[in-house]
Symmetry: C2
Subunit: 418 residues, 2 copies
């Protein structure tokens, strides 16, 4: 049974006569994880989707609302979810980008202060409020496209105070903006300049940084970068063990540039998601599937780094592994503050279908954040995070760049002005 | 000598004491085709750049203006120029995009009415005012990024009335919007369904359509698609001969998917530009250079079609062939209504440097339209089409997607509200 049909079957349970809804939108089509239907209507009450039905049935069902909107055949989708970003950072890496294109060697760029260390330096140099101020426009850009939930990682602080600062900034952005922010602690992102030994740094994260982050309630998950230029599988496993101890779910950057068996580590710890996956072995896909791990695909980094090794998409499809799509917004390898552009990249470069991509930025992305019970679908009882699109087919959301934007954005049932 | 320096040397000729300028912007950096300079200032008078100098010299030089703006170190660039678009069209091709990704064959897509013919049908079906209405948002998207001049082609009408309609729509857009529109007649774009023979269609264009287009003053140039799926070199040459007769300059879609020697045809007719050029032979580059033909590169189509054959960029560079960059905005092969995104694609996929790309969307793009005397540079006497950018290095305009937009847009010296 389609998810939409299952939502409809719940109408009996819907409380439609005892109260007036806040918002009723009728004459619309619904983009959902299930098949499309015709002339639909939805109602929002107290921030939640309270009724879904046929436009023509709304009077008969006694659905009334303070704000009744004729959508004139527009399409309704769940609010988009960007489940992997590094949105909080200082500075930019445009000079490094230019140097590379002018033919500078890796050494020259390093000598001129390029690479991730330059972002760590720029991020450390900013006060909490300055970091909020420079990150806010990026969040606004995502929100203007209809992104109502964003995951934000730390990982450019790399010491106690600066990791804490980054996570506080992320929390502050969530308070200042009608976007749900989920944070991931990514201390194991890169070796900071003050450490020479990766094992020592990992131990420092475990002994000092992670307990404090947890004590302040700043992280919703723990992340790591399992890669030659990041950390080894056994170093990442130490982080996983500490996360379990602290009761935090796990996600990780794995098999991006090589295969260190990071995906199976995430499966062993029943993590939320395994992210990147260009170099994933097909044989590991059933393991991820069984462990309930979501594959988070990041075509923005693939594109910006001019990679050629594609993730094993067809095998993931064959195993019905849920695939989420995210922007990976960061100043180095994915300087793209647009989930809609990323959705197009996912089609053009990864050959995902628009339907797969739409699931990837709604229900599967919700699951990658452990939020599948409240967001990512148009379903009675879920948060009224929803978008109206002036389109005539859902594929229009993926097929180009800068051609569509939502005509209305609802966050928890309240219309957002962007 | 740099272009900026040459502009500065003209300050003696500038009339600075007899009148008050409309606008003076100081404390800025200037992005131009020449090297950068420090703390600059510009004045606009009657829609033209009337003075360029040092911020600190403005009082000494008696430069006064009604509107004096402290740019606080922002960067000024010429208005961006998108010199190759098919911005006027009806419908979209999202369903076809989805079908392809779902594995449909070319025949299936054709059977379901896909391909260029579907856009011809959708465009013919719209009235002039409906076509203005659906094209206007795309032009607004470009303008919001700082695009102040746009070339628009016909080519989805393919009969007398509909080609005329498309060109009128393009002219109307130029009247309704503070953007200079340059039109190109692209009758030789595809064979319309009512013709079976390409030669007959070309003769029809020459006998009936082109004279009428010229009589109504609707075309600023004549374009053609020289390709297996378009028209042969000799068919395109017939179009060129008629264009010469009508006194219209020539440009062409050449060597996109194969090499039919279309570029040398354009050189023979001293055309404005040769566009696409993925399959250009290196040996033809000196011919283009000598004939004063601009190479217009269209990385949006390369990207959307997942092409792998790159144009011979290094050889063009070696011969100092001017390279313009354009969006190729169209519903099939480049559904990208963002010249800034295209600039990033030009860096990432074509490995052009940010400096080359900035020239590609300013001075070289102006030349591809025959407008190099009035737009494309920040220079005394040129149109005051100019943008203020809140950036600290020009490479920021190219390095990512959706990260920057102009803080002020001036068209003919008047600030545009977008």
């Amino acid at each position: 049974m389609s998810r939409f049909a299952s939502a409809k079957s719940e109408t009996d349970k819907q409380n439609t006569d005892s109260q007036i809804s806040d918002t009723l939108i009728y004459n619309l089509n619904i983009i959902d994880c299930g098949p499309q239907c015709g002339k639909s209507a939805v109602a929002f009450t107290n921030g939640v989707i309270s009724w879904i039905g046929n436009s023509d049935d709304r009077q008969q069902s006694s659905v009334r609302a303070k704000d009744e909107i004729d959508a004139e055949g527009q399409w309704l989708s769940p609010g988009l979810i960007d489940c992997h970003t590094h949105l909080v950072y200082g500075g930019h890496r445009a000079a490094e980008f230019a140097l590379k294109l002018e033919g500078a060697s890796y050494e020259e760029i390093s000598r001129k202060g390029g690479g991730i260390v330059s972002t760590v330096k720029a991020t450390r140099n900013l006060s909490e409020s300055a970091l909020v101020a420079c990150s806010q426009p990026r969040l606004q850009s995502l929100l203007a496209e209809g992104v109502t939930t964003v995951e934000i990682k730390s990982g450019y602080g790399l010491d106690l105070n600066n990791e804490i600062k980054m996570l506080r900034v992320a929390r502050q952005l969530g308070k200042d903006t009608p976007v749900t922010i989920r944070t991931s602690f990514l201390g194991a992102h890169a070796l900071p300049p003050e450490f020479k030994d990766k094992d020592e740094f990992i131990q420092h994260l475990i002994d000092i940084v992670m307990p404090q982050v947890q004590k302040e309630g700043l992280a919703d998950a723990v992340d790591f970068f399992c890669e030659g230029i990041g950390f080894s599988r056994s170093q990442c496993e130490k982080i996983c063990k500490e996360a379990v101890k602290l009761g935090l779910p796990i996600k990780g950057h794995v098999e991006q540039l090589s295969n260190l068996n990071g995906a199976t580590l995430i499966a062993e710890y029943n993590g939320l998601s395994a992210d990147h996956l260009e170099h994933l072995h097909k044989d590991d896909i059933p393991t991820l599937k069984t462990a309930g791990v979501v594959a988070v695909l990041l075509p923005g980094a693939f594109y910006s780094l001019s990679e050629t090794k594609l993730p094993p998409i067809q095998a993931m499809r064959d195993h019905q592994l849920p695939m989420a799509i995210a922007s990976d917004l960061n100043p180095g390898s994915s300087p793209i503050a647009s989930l809609l552009n990323i959705m197009n990249l996912a089609c053009v470069q990864y050959k995902l279908t628009p339907e797969e991509v739409l699931r990837g930025v709604t229900c599967h992305a919700a699951r990658a954040l452990g939020l599948e019970k409240s967001i990512g679908e148009i379903k009675v009882g879920m948060n009224a995070d929803a978008l109206l699109w002036p389109i005539d087919t859902p594929a229009q959301l993926c097929y180009g760049m800068n051609l569509v934007k939502p005509s209305r954005i609802y966050k928890n049932g309240i219309q957002v002005n962007v």
